[in-house]
Symmetry: C2
Subunit: 366 residues, 2 copies
Amino acid sequence: MILIDELAQLATPALVIDAAQTRANVHRLAEYAAAHRIRIRPHTKTHKLRRVAHMQLAAGAIGIAVAKVTEAEAISDPEQDVFVAYPPVGEGRADRLAALAHDRTMRAAVDSLVAIEQTAAAAKAAGATIGLLVDLDVGLGRTGVPSPADTLPLAQAIDRASNLRLDGLMIYPGQVWSKPNEQAAELKAVDDLIVETLALWEKHGLRAAIVSGGSTPTAYQTHLTPHVTEMRPGTYVFNDMNTVRPGFATIEDCAARVVATVISDAVPGQVVVDAGSKTLARDASSVPDGGFGHVVEYPQARIKQLSEEHGQIDVRACDRRPKLGEHVTIIPNHICPCVNLHAAVWWLEHGQPLERLTVDARGCIR
Amino acid sequence: MILIDELAQLATPALVIDAAQTRANVHRLAEYAAAHRIRIRPHTKTHKLRRVAHMQLAAGAIGIAVAKVTEAEAISDPEQDVFVAYPPVGEGRADRLAALAHDRTMRAAVDSLVAIEQTAAAAKAAGATIGLLVDLDVGLGRTGVPSPADTLPLAQAIDRASNLRLDGLMIYPGQVWSKPNEQAAELKAVDDLIVETLALWEKHGLRAAIVSGGSTPTAYQTHLTPHVTEMRPGTYVFNDMNTVRPGFATIEDCAARVVATVISDAVPGQVVVDAGSKTLARDASSVPDGGFGHVVEYPQARIKQLSEEHGQIDVRACDRRPKLGEHVTIIPNHICPCVNLHAAVWWLEHGQPLERLTVDARGCIR
């Protein structure tokens, strides 16, 4: 629990991470996964912190997932098992992936022959081996081939190529979040698609050692897709309002908060804090009228508008109102792009001074 | 004009700045301002680049505006005239403002006695003088006191305080953008509020040497608020889709584009590029169905959804479709938070190799 009194001397805005709550989130999922014999490969794009990656690995994670090869460069270590959940298409991407494969296990997701060819060429040039997972779209419609049958030519091409290793199948059931009441049925349908794919591969002498799935909202439902061998949730490590509002976590589970100062109360019924879209990120709420985050000390307040450096908070419904110069703490709607805006976070171990931690993989745009 | 062929070797995503178009944007506004005898104090939060600030100053800008004291530290130089268009409330903010005031002219905006007291205390402790402008809300309802009468006690408090200098009045007519047809009437009403304020101050022996106004959408209408002495537009230097769509600029006026690569075309009717919310920023379009930016080479395409590292582009309406691995260039909805996501931009002088420029004031959160 982040206590506002511990933060009185902090220059704001600042992102504070509650170490104990982060550990609790990591260990709770580790226990669930162990009970169900599912592996965890946390998606480090959420925290972008080497310290937290090490915490997750110490708690039993088999490796890490990243969104970009540049993130892998910034956050992974030799000997680690790293899955870039993204196709290595584009100038330099496969080459950098291959360079990392010299001293760690590198895997990536593909949904095209072009991606396979670019990766194979880079791996061959580097004299390295890269593992590929075929991306199957299970309903989100973002990436991934549309059907189990479409995975086969890709799996075969990977299997044929020198310097590539067919590692398995990747899915991302992102569409399940928005349908909490149909989650079990949706996940059953996802598992059916996996089973159909694996049967087809087996018929052609191919095997998927890994079936990578999952995300934070479905993390504790992963046993409903029993053919998923590992999950790669990201947000669970900190949680955020878009995890809390649909019921996937509680306010108490949120380990990351932006500390902000009230810098104006001149407009009646409103206070303005120094956390805007360049601090919180502009991701919308998962519910209508959810605003741009949750003010912990003033739960009736509503962050109604963000400019780049201003957060306009409607305080008309509050019994008492925050004063000019006062600190408040805000749980953002989406913690992943929020962390990415901060050069450093403040690591809070209760009873110890706040520690400034550089966000190791911040940006990493290219 | 950014030509896609010049960018073939670029690792993506990457933000490219067209130097010639940037110069044209800077000089066009400088000519307008000179013709109307209005000063320009560009808001550097848009570009966060020392090179562009110097270009603006060389074209006649009287100084710069910033949103944060930390931005002023990163982007301003000794001897410069710097306006922090933000109240110096909160831990350390006024102290850092006062430290800069030793070797440059520092000004800030205030809308409370608390802000004035904190600034006066810091200026006194540092043995420096800080100029303050009173922030009057002219309709946006973000910061600023609600009426001309409310400015008087603040102006008097500044005038009385040692180490403070009453510099004038600040307004921000942000609400005018959304009413293009009523713009002239809205700006007339804004000027009436300024006149009323100045008359009240004069009656009490106070003078506003500066009336700071403006923003990009109203920049070329500044003569409709004749009592504004200087404007502080930011976006005009690069422009973006939220400037173009309401008619304040053209596509050709846009000097900044994100270069992205098509990394997936597996989902029918769609391509996915490697520019998501961590590259473009998630600011909504100013028009319904505007999507998350404009794909220059495929004007019928629509960026329908952004994940952190994925931009999903609906290409069903396109005559021809972008191919896997192809580069496209995207004009973002809002260029200011976009620049802030990039550690560096690529500076494009035609006929010369691309130059990597660090974004000097990126982040600068505290």
